[in-house]
């Protein structure tokens, strides 16, 4: 049958000749190749000092967004937690008091909002689920750490910096 991909190769299993059976020429050939690689440009990216460029739709650390007036957008509806396949998100909701209108956009807000970065698989479903456009995975790589408890990121690490004015 005709090959569709045109990549089919017919291998011939002819017996090895004397030089091939000696192995040594092939070994020297291989060693010459590896030796050449010693002087090639190294591919290593020295990570903490140098960061590689990510694609546009790279999903990194989450950030909880603020609106144009610097108020937190999240209304603690819990849809992100519900959509999360890894059960990484928990939150405690609270009601906005009088005088806090400049802090929270909606009447209900997340008093505690935690993402466990060890559970999170960076799928981005929380971002898709959010009706308030409050959470985006637009941050850097999550930093390594020594203790499990340090991977539970609270609002102090997740919420965007307040607007400067």
């Amino acid at each position: 049958m005709e090959s569709l991909s045109n990549r089919k190769k017919v291998l011939d299993q002819k017996p090895m000749n004397f030089w091939e059976r000696l192995y040594l020429p092939a070994i020297f050939q291989g060693m010459a190749i590896t030796f050449k690689h010693m002087f090639k440009k190294k591919e290593t990216i020295f990570y903490p000092e140098v960061e590689r460029e990510f694609s546009e739709n790279w999903r990194g650390l989450h950030s909880l967004k603020r609106d144009e007036q610097g108020r937190e957008r999240c209304t603690a509806c819990g849809l992100c937690a519900l959509s999360c396949p890894a059960e990484a998100i928990t939150m405690i909701a609270a009601e906005r008091q009088k005088g806090e209108e400049n802090l929270y956009r909606e009447e209900k807000y997340a008093a505690v909002y935690e993402i466990n970065m060890l559970r999170c698989i960076f799928c981005g479903l929380c971002e898709e689920a959010c009706p308030k456009e409050a959470i985006y995975l637009d941050g850097p790589i999550v930093k390594s750490d020594y203790l499990r408890k340090d991977f539970i990121y609270g609002k102090d690490k997740l919420v965007e910096e307040p607007l400067k004015s």
């Binding site: 291989g30 060693m31 690689h37 190294k42 290593t44």
Partner: protein, 345 residues
């Protein structure tokens, strides 16, 4: 035996011991660096400038790890295995002549711990003892992977000792002596044995790869089939001892190859340099040259490791019994004929 003799030997032994430990430690770093460079990476470079202190960090890590002895393992043998491997790896360097005799005042100080007249046989014995460490360790672990690794180590060493011995016999036909010191002296003035025994050297080198359990003959520890081979159950410092023994063996094998075939401490223009710098510095330069050769061999070991894939077990045995042994015997015959004709001329 005078006191100065004892002090002299003591200093020499200490220095050689420390140097070989240092070289073994830094071989681990060199291995990782070379592996990196051959694979377009840079290797470890965080501990100290350019990764200089990586061996210390590794050693520290090995010490801090939990020592686990499996419940059904034979405790005594389990500890004896790595100790024996380390011990035999250390004593191999005793008969290697590191340089010409040093003359201080009217004392002649040989840069060799001991010149026994069966030096090559001694090295042979020590190297084949090394496999007992692996065998005992693998057997005592009470683990089928370890046992497989140990069996492989044993049969591999036995098979490769024969062509190694045969290639040495051809060398002995040329040199007429077993003493490493005399062999070194004979190669003075560019008269290196590699010129007379190229095939013998090739066989010897392939066999020393097998004896030191280096890729492509690292079947005893063969990660892909046997988890870790004979050291599957080992952790912490005992694991470190096995690793260390491997690198020490590599160092000794390199030193033996340099001494037997590549002129040892001899280098072209040696007499001229010795005349310039005198009888104390001269031997030290010779020693540096020997070390340069040793490092070149160690590099070669690593270079091969990161190029050639591991042999299959039947291929290994085929190579040993069906290729190397006939080749080595042919080499003896050819050498014998050549020497007879040469003498008649």
């Amino acid at each position: 035996m005078e006191l100065s003799f004892i002090i002299e030997k003591f200093i020499l032994i200490t220095v050689i011991f420390l140097v070989s430990l240092g070289i073994a430690a830094y071989s681990t770093l060199a291995e990782r660096k070379i592996a990196g460079y051959l694979q377009d990476r840079v290797g470890p470079n965080r501990a100290g400038p350019g990764g200089m202190f990586q061996p210390l960090a590794d050693g520290l890590k090995m010490f801090m790890k939990e020592e686990i002895i499996p419940a059904d393992a034979n405790r005594f043998l389990f500890i004896a295995g790595p100790s024996l491997a380390l011990l035999t790896a250390c004593i191999g360097s005793a008969v290697i002549p590191w340089g010409q005799d040093m003359v201080i005042g009217d004392r002649i100080i040989p840069l060799q711990v001991t010149d026994i007249n069966v030096g090559i046989l001694y090295i042979f014995g020590v190297v084949s003892l090394g496999v007992y460490g692996l065998m005992i360790g693998g057997w005592a672990s009470n683990n089928k992977f370890s046992l497989m690794g140990a069996i492989r180590a044993a049969s591999q060493n036995i098979s490769y000792e024969i062509p190694m011995g045969l290639s040495i016999i051809a060398l002995l036909l040329v040199t007429n002596t077993l003493s490493l010191k005399e062999i070194s002296e004979m190669q003075h003035g560019g008269n290196w044995n590699i010129l007379y025994q190229p095939l013998g050297f090739l066989i010897f080198m392939v066999c020393s790869f097998a004896e030191t359990n280096r890729t492509p003959f690292d079947l005893p520890e063969c990660e892909t089939e046997l988890v870790g081979g004979y050291h599957t159950e080992y952790s912490g410092f005992k694991m470190g001892a096995f690793m260390f023994a491997e690198y020490l063996n590599m160092f000794v094998a390199s030193a033996v190859m340099s001494t037997l075939y590549f002129g040892g401490y001899n280098y072209p223009g040696m007499d001229y340099v010795n005349g310039l710098v005198g009888p104390i510095i001269g031997p030290l330069i010779g020693m540096a040259v020997l070390f340069a050769k040793v490092f070149a061999f160690i590099f070669f070991f690593m270079w091969v490791r990161w190029t050639v894939p591991r042999f299959r077990y039947d291929q290994l045995m085929n190579l040993g019994w069906k290729v190397l042994i006939p080749l080595a015997i042919a080499n003896i015959v050819i050498t014998g004929i050549w020497i007879t004709i040469y003498d008649k001329l």
